[in-house]
């Protein structure tokens, strides 16, 4: 399997361990990623607040680059995934708008064709029949005894029309992956909710409350760790967990893993190789379970 990898900004910035573990997972699985080095930020649904056409032009340019590479595009961030799909939908559903966007792109030498490449989150790729078979073949260290709580990230689920999950209100894609890795999925209500990150600068208390409710729900359901497909969720749930812990009477403490870290752990890589020592909430308590 070979894909154009759209890394997104956060995997290159505050969650570099996501990039590291993505490349290790790919290495272990024999997936080839060609990094899209000239692709811009997806705008995270924020650039479109300022100028919707600008956001769509930037993302149409990104998709056009994958088209030029002749490779399906893979994202490693729920937000990037949802935002690129939104642009694809805006541009594909309105020929006049598509022409407008392509006029903006023209001078840069890119043209968006549409319908040529698939835009998928890494979790979606692993969730295909082919991906699951590959995983099954390559697992070296089954994560037996590890109870994992999926946290999907809003943008891969809603709007459901753009989601690649079969039942976005009750998705099972990540949990299917957990099972093949040998871990035990924990189903809890908050797994499809918002982590609060988008308003962390605007309404900190509400943001931390959202994250806290989700973490407590996961803990009460017996999870050893939360696993997310979105680096922004990771920041909200991990980097800010000390604040969240303080806000909650009961307190809360639980390690947060990126999905590719969990995958690569099962492929036999060590926590250090996957940047797990970079997390704010220590992941060492998982070593005992996995020993």
């Amino acid at each position: 399997m070979k894909f154009a990898l759209f890394t997104g900004c956060v995997a290159k910035g505050a969650t570099r361990e996501l990039m590291l573990s993505t490349m290790k997972s790919a290495e272990g699985l024999g997936i080839e990623f060609v990094e899209m080095k000239s692709a811009s930020c997806c705008g995270a649904g924020v650039v479109s607040e300022k100028n919707p056409l600008l956001a769509d032009a930037l993302n149409a340019r990104t998709i056009a680059i994958a088209e030029e590479q002749g490779l399906d595009l893979v994202t490693i961030c729920s937000t990037c995934q949802g935002i690129l799909k939104k642009t694809e939908c805006h541009v594909d559903s309105d020929p006049a708008y598509k022409e407008k966007v392509n006029t903006v792109l023209e001078e840069g030498g890119h043209q968006y064709a549409g319908g040529k490449v698939k835009i998928q989150h890494f979790a979606n790729v692993l969730g295909t029949e082919e991906g699951l078979t590959l995983l099954r073949d390559k697992v070296k260290r089954p994560l037996t005894g590890l109870k994992t709580a999926a946290f999907y990230g809003c943008y891969v689920l809603r709007p459901s029309g753009l989601s690649l999950y079969e039942d976005p209100d009750n998705p099972t894609g990540m949990e299917e992956i957990f099972k093949i890795l040998g871990a035990t999925p924990v189903y809890y209500e908050s797994r499809t909710k918002c982590c609060g990150f988008p308003i962390i600068m605007m309404n900190k208390d509400a943001s931390h409350d959202m994250a806290g409710n989700a973490l407590i729900d996961a803990i009460d359901s017996g999870a050893d760790c939360v696993v997310t497909g979105c680096p922004l969720c990771h920041l909200s749930l991990d980097a800010y967990q000390p604040e969240i812990d303080k806000m909650n009477k009961k307190g809360c403490s639980i390690p947060i893993l990126h999905l590719p870290q969990l995958v690569a752990l099962a492929l036999g890589y060590s926590p250090q190789e996957l940047g797990m020592d970079k997390h704010i909430i220590s992941t060492t308590r998982l070593d005992k379970i996995l020993a």
Binding site: K12, G43, P168, M202
Partner: protein, 313 residues
């Protein structure tokens, strides 16, 4: 045969709500509302819920089915059954239950009132009508379809933690007037809507779009208000500063500079705000998790800059 697991509540008899199960045999072609009626007429006359039009127009019958808000009259019961042929029904969320599936809509209506949901203009009314072009109408068409059912309000992730948030329906209603060419108070409106509890408190969860039975889809309307607010220069708040800083960062390097955004979002002169950023910043620094100080540009950032210029950004 479908089992309806319904959350019952009657504070006059019992303080705590409880679930009660009802079974119906013939449910083919019945909407969920038809089923509720069957239960009420044949099994338990005390079951309480709201309804009127039976055709997704009045907005009365929204309830939570299997954890998500829907219009009971708009969905076939057979489409909703889960494992064991069961449908779990609860009152809408984020509002206080009054009895069984009926909730108190007062906070919902109060918030709609708060956005002044009527045209405001100091101009003398015209002799005849004020004409709207198709383009002008298109801007307010989607929001106009709202039937005030409260499904969005029920499932909004921010309202679960902050009552102060105006919420999706009121904000969608606000957009309908912010972008109405006949309204004269655009600036005053977006100033008010940019305050805490307004547009910038929306967390992008997309629940309102997912639950809305009409094209009103509040999150998209909220983003339209944001664009107008920025156009109107209402930028003295964290949400607006964040959007501007983010957009600028992508222009200069093609990617996000995470070191700058938080600082620019709270504002350079906001000492308390900056102080609040310190713990998480230091924590990340200690772990070597801070974004690289020298922010790297993408390849061909010139093309991104060109696109910005072309769109006058």
């Amino acid at each position: 045969m479908i089992t309806f697991k319904i959350k019952r509540y009657n504070p006059e008899k019992q303080a705590e709500p409880y679930f009660e199960e009802f079974q119906l045999g013939e449910t083919d072609d019945l909407t969920l509302l038809d089923c509720l009626n069957q239960i009420k007429w044949t099994l338990d006359g005390s079951l309480t819920y709201r309804m009127s039009c039976r055709s997704a127009i009045c907005g009365s019958c929204a309830v939570k089915a299997n954890g998500h808000a829907i219009l009971a009259c708009q969905k076939q019961a057979s489409q909703l059954v889960k494992d064991n042929d069961t449908i779990t029904l609860e009152p809408l969320g984020n509002m206080k239950p009054i009895k069984d599936l009926a909730v108190d809509f007062k906070p919902f209506w109060d918030k709609v009132d708060k956005v002044n949901p009527y045209l405001q203009s100091s101009k003398k009314p015209p002799e005849k009508e004020t004409k709207q072009s198709p383009e002008q109408f298109k801007l307010i068409d989607d929001a106009s379809t709202c039937i005030m059912c409260g499904a969005c309000y029920s499932d909004c992730n921010v309202l679960e933690v902050d009552d102060n948030f105006l919420g999706p329906a009121a904000l969608a209603k606000a957009q309908r007037f912010v972008q109405d060419s006949r309204d004269g108070e655009t600036l005053a409106r977006v100033k008010e809507l940019s305050k805490p509890g307004g547009i910038w408190d929306c967390t992008h969860c997309g629940e309102c779009v997912e639950r809305c039975p009409k094209p009103a889809e509040p999150f998209d309307r909220i983003k339209e208000i944001m664009t107008v607010a920025l156009e109107q220069g209402v930028t003295n708040n964290n949400g607006a500063r964040h959007a501007l800083s983010f957009t600028k960062s992508v222009k200069s390097s093609g990617s996000l500079n995470e070191n700058i955004i938080p600082v620019e979002s709270v504002g350079f002169f906001n000492v308390k705000g900056l102080f609040d950023l310190l713990p998480v910043g230091l924590r990340m620094l200690f772990k070597g998790k801070n974004p690289p100080i020298l922010h790297k540009s993408i390849d061909d950032v010139e093309d991104v800059k060109r696109i910005y210029m072309e769109l006058s950004e």
